[in-house]
Assembly symmetry: C3
Homo-oligomer: 472 residues x 3
């Protein structure tokens, strides 16, 4: 057997190729490389950290929960079940087999951000030195397994090693946030994990199970939700509960970004229909758009930053949803419109001193046309970092190039990893730092920015911007 | 106090960073650097030049009238009133205070074109040598004020110094163009300032004040506008008046670019409704789209070039509009569609030898999909330079990259500054020349264009293209 | 007369300008430069090859049939008739005159892909060494004419010289494919020319002549098409005929990409209306969308790859269509939506092992938002190469940058020339190879891909990808 190609991380990866620009970028990157990670939006379960539960095996850590990895395997004909998706724990042999599939198809990830993240994880965290392939799969698997069996690779140890300053989770409004509380009350744990209020399904009154959801909201909040006023009060109550548990933001992901307000009587009427299970799809949409504006109103009171992640057709392939459930890689973006959609809400709350709105998009066409101009006028609006399919080097370059000219650097959110792939968090932030350093270096090389300003700018993008955008 | 960082304009700013490509770009740029400025569309008041009124102070020259500068201050929480927006003249202290705000927030403009323009103005026109900051604000203010107090900084002197060959203003159809006439008849003034026919509010029959507007049109034109035929004749009359005063184009900015024709009886019916104040919003929209096509018909007769600047949601934030009026930075683009929108008009007039249409867009997605293909087929259609939010280096690069492949260089308009910030005109044209030289240099470096062709191309973009597109 | 500028093809054209990246790109390009051409979709008539008919003159070979060349001449005021469009054969003098027009307007093509292709054809195929211009037109014309008069320039000889491995034509479902058969049965011809099933007008039931078309389908297939079931059976019959004649794909180009299914009774009802000439436009659209999904169903049976080329407003300028017919350069793209449009079809057939769908677009905005995510999940979906107006260097760069991050390299179609300009085929494939080598070289230079992977990747893009996407 010939020797396998090495896996080596080049110190200059992703930096500009022109030597003089690279030199500038290298210095800028070096100045932020080791800064702590601020992760104000993501999906790592707080319980992992609260209970410091050891990770069991390479596949359930690195593959099964990561729809970025799985969807490309699926696109090449691999059954999601073979990767452990939508099923209970894998046997040792199944786990190894799933890992082999990904390694044997390693070429599929060429040019994708998954490749960059995965390389970084393997090399930086698990000290892997050979490139994944059919030949090396078992060797790599064993090496990672050995790591996971040691205490240095338990969640809290990794959290420390990753130098995460703050990590936000994403939580149901009825969640009791017990894990967050345990972490807060744990004297042996000094870092910060905060919840995020994510009420999507409470606002979609025609979706299955909505009535039960709202009943449960009443139970948990102790506020009667049988009428509209009570429903609103119960949501306010739970937001306050989240605030009391350290939350800094609420997050919202619906099919569009509209915020049209209803008259109070209309909202009440639609809510009552929904309560009786008689609301039509288009009426529920009207109600949801109104409720989004209501969330902004509440934000002016309780200070939670509002984040929007709109315009995804969830579970595009229904047979996959039926077999494997949600969040398995079959969500596909649709277009989004912000200028008119956000107008009702921004006309009301856009200049309120307590309101902050971070807008994310999968549709790049709004960068220069809508998002930059909005963030470049409204004090409340921040342009969120490229999200999901566009959280990738070329797209991030396009984002900076398109957004900066109308919104500058200061009205951007800072990097958001938005992941439940815990071990990929450092790699994702590192990717962002490299790309921002490169973008700013190019401005310096084109004599559009001075060296001292560049240093300040890359530092701000890592530290100041997320703190300001998320009130941290 | 430490010494303040210097403000220095690097001769190679915005040029490519690869040394061999930069060398080519430098030569190309040098060949066009000093060519006169042709500015066929903008918003400088003709009166400034007719009366050669001295500029009073730095703020009312450089800040108050420039919504590019103001909107980013607003996005960072500055009240527009503090910058002098929407109010009468500032006191000396207020003017200085506004200037301090902008200087203290100088970092906000990093990476934006405002920074490039402002740097150029400060250094090239006012000989400022320190970077704006809280520390240097007063010093810079005083230096500019001293300049403004001297005769070399009066409008006509600057016009000469800027080497402007022709400057177009933007004017109401009922304007008597007295300032233009005074300039024409002034023997001490040998340069060219031309009006532009901008009838937007005459074509929006449901907008407030429309009836008065049309009455006034009758008065000024001497043509009865009580019926549709008279209204059309009155518009033709005023277009002719503008032609007689040197106008070369009419300009049109509405929410969409549609040009659907009505039957004459329908147009008449809708006009009559409007005359009675009974036209509905959607009917007024139908009438406006028809009138746009009518403008094209008139253009075939009187030869005015037609320019379109569609798809902006004006006064997005109503409270700001109510406090400060229009054009203060709260306009936000919406998407635009051209292929089907322009079809009725282009089917009628698209190959008429007298018709020329310059299409501007804020929505970049049409560059390669619609605008390039249209300009690459219709002899009448020219792709306008990137406009407003996308009149910026990265967007201009995207424009050339996206448009050139389907429309070539020859069917582009040449640079349009579209500004009322008089002192920024040279900086804006300089930015464009640098970027075009860079784009063409890249083609040479990739062996897609020969050196002699490159020289001819950059010269054409500065001189030949605007002359041809605007019949100058 | 001064000597005319030379026409020389630089070996590094289109490669990156940074020397180190260029060196990598050069090696990658060199590794694929001489690989055979796989052309799985295009418009060269099979008859040219079956009968090996000599090309008559430079204009009818290089200009008249190429709407890319003609539309830019038209945009500069040249009558299409002067270029031989929409009329019978040109006289020798007319042909020469048309050639002179194009040469005299050579500057119009600067920066366009036409220039690249034309340069390559002139130099590589016809050994022209001077740049086209008014001065050199006759000389170049004579030189090409001399070539065309020799046997080395007959279609089959060129096919060999171009090293085309397989060439697909585009054919009407009722075509008897006689030319394909003659080629197959010709012992002196060992290369491969395959038909493509293109049923567009059979699926547009409100278009003029549809009833006759469907009658003719009955005749040719021997299947009664008077009812819906027969119509479907007749289409299946003809697809099978194409499969038997070597076809590997069916191609579909309609105004949108929707695939909404009808109930069988609805489809039957609409078909019957159409049969009676009573179907309304919107009903025909519903039927067509259903029939597209039916094509996918058939594809699962007969294995034809399905390709879609949607969203063009055909014959945008009706007067031109009336004078010169279709396909003369007056087609203009409109926007396209894929996520929701393809969903019904993909929910049914998207994971069928026999189904493959190659999606082409003129609207780049879908690259990262819709097309990449779809190809990156569905095993059946491939992202087609940039098409038509965006089959050009800068757009191809944008395509790779936008698509690779969500779909990788493996789910892209490989290059498609889609041309009837026979002599431009090698130039087009060469352009693609240069650009892909450059893109991959950049990844290597940024340390995102290793050298051995890069070599494999560029080879796959030329050979493996089109074979896989088109089942060759």
């Amino acid at each position: 057997m010939p020797s396998s190609p090495a896996l080596k991380l080049h110190p200059d990866r992703l930096l500009p190729t022109e030597p003089a620009v690279r030199a500038i970028a290298r210095e800028l990157y070096e100045s932020v490389r080791q800064l702590p990670i601020i992760s104000p939006h993501g999906h790592v379960p707080a319980q992992w950290l609260a209970d410091d539960i050891p990770f069991t095996d390479p596949t359930s850590l690195l593959i099964t929960p990561d729809h970025y990895v799985n969807r490309l395997m699926h696109a090449h004909g691999v059954d999601l079940s073979e990767l452990g998706v939508g099923r209970g724990p894998l046997t040792a042999e199944e786990s190894r087999q799933a890992f082999r599939i990904v390694c044997a198809n390693w070429h599929v990830y060429r040019g994708t951000p998954v490749r960059f993240w995965f390389d970084s994880q393997l090399a930086d965290i698990f000290n892997v030195t050979v490139r994944p392939s059919a030949d090396t799969a078992d060797r790599i698997y064993d090496q990672i397994q050995e790591c996971l069996d040691s205490p240095e690779f338990r969640p809290r140890a990794l959290y420390d090693r990753f130098n995460i300053e703050v990590l936000a989770t994403t939580d149901d409004p009825c969640d009791d946030l017990a894990a967050h509380r345990r972490l807060r009350d744990d004297d042996s744990w000094s870092r910060r994990v905060i919840p995020t209020f994510r009420p999507d399904r409470y606002l979609e009154a025609a979706s299955p199970g909505w009535i039960d959801t709202v009943d449960r909201l009443a139970e948990v909040s102790g506020v009667d939700t049988s009428d509209y006023a009570g429903f609103i009060a119960a949501l306010e109550n739970r937001r306050r509960y989240f605030v009391d548990h350290g939350a800094v933001s609420s997050d919202h992901s619906h099919l569009d970004a509209r915020t049209d307000l209803l008259e109070p009587a209309e909202a009440e009427y639609l809510f009552n229909l929904a309560r009786k299970g008689e609301i039509a799809e288009h009426e529920a949409t009207m109600l949801r758009r109104h409720l989004i504006s209501e969330m902004a109103r509440m934000a002016c009171d309780d200070g939670l930053v509002m984040t929007m992640h709109p315009a995804v057709r969830r579970n595009h392939h229904l047979p996959t949803f039926e077999s494997y459930g949600a969040d398995v890689g079959t969500d596909i973006p649709v277009r989004v419109e912000f200028t008119d959609a956000l107008r009702p809400m921004l006309n009301r709350y856009g200049t309120h001193p307590n309101f902050q709105l971070v807008v994310f998009t999968l549709d790049e066409t709004v960068f220069s046309t809508e998002l930059g101009p909005l963030a470049g006028f409204y004090p409340s609006v921040y342009a969120g970092a490229p999200w999901w399919f566009i959280d990738a080097p070329e797209a991030i370059r396009r984002y900076r190039a398109a957004i900066t000219e109308s919104a500058g650097f200061t009205k951007t959110s800072g990097f958001i990893d938005d992941t439940r792939a815990f071990c990929s968090i450092p790699a994702r932030h590192d990717m962002s730092r490299r790309l921002d350093a490169s973008f700013v270096a190019q401005l310096v090389a084109e004599h559009r920015l001075d060296a001292d300003e560049a240093l300040e700018t890359v530092h701000d993008l890592v530290v100041t911007n997320p703190r300001r955008a998320f009130k941290l």
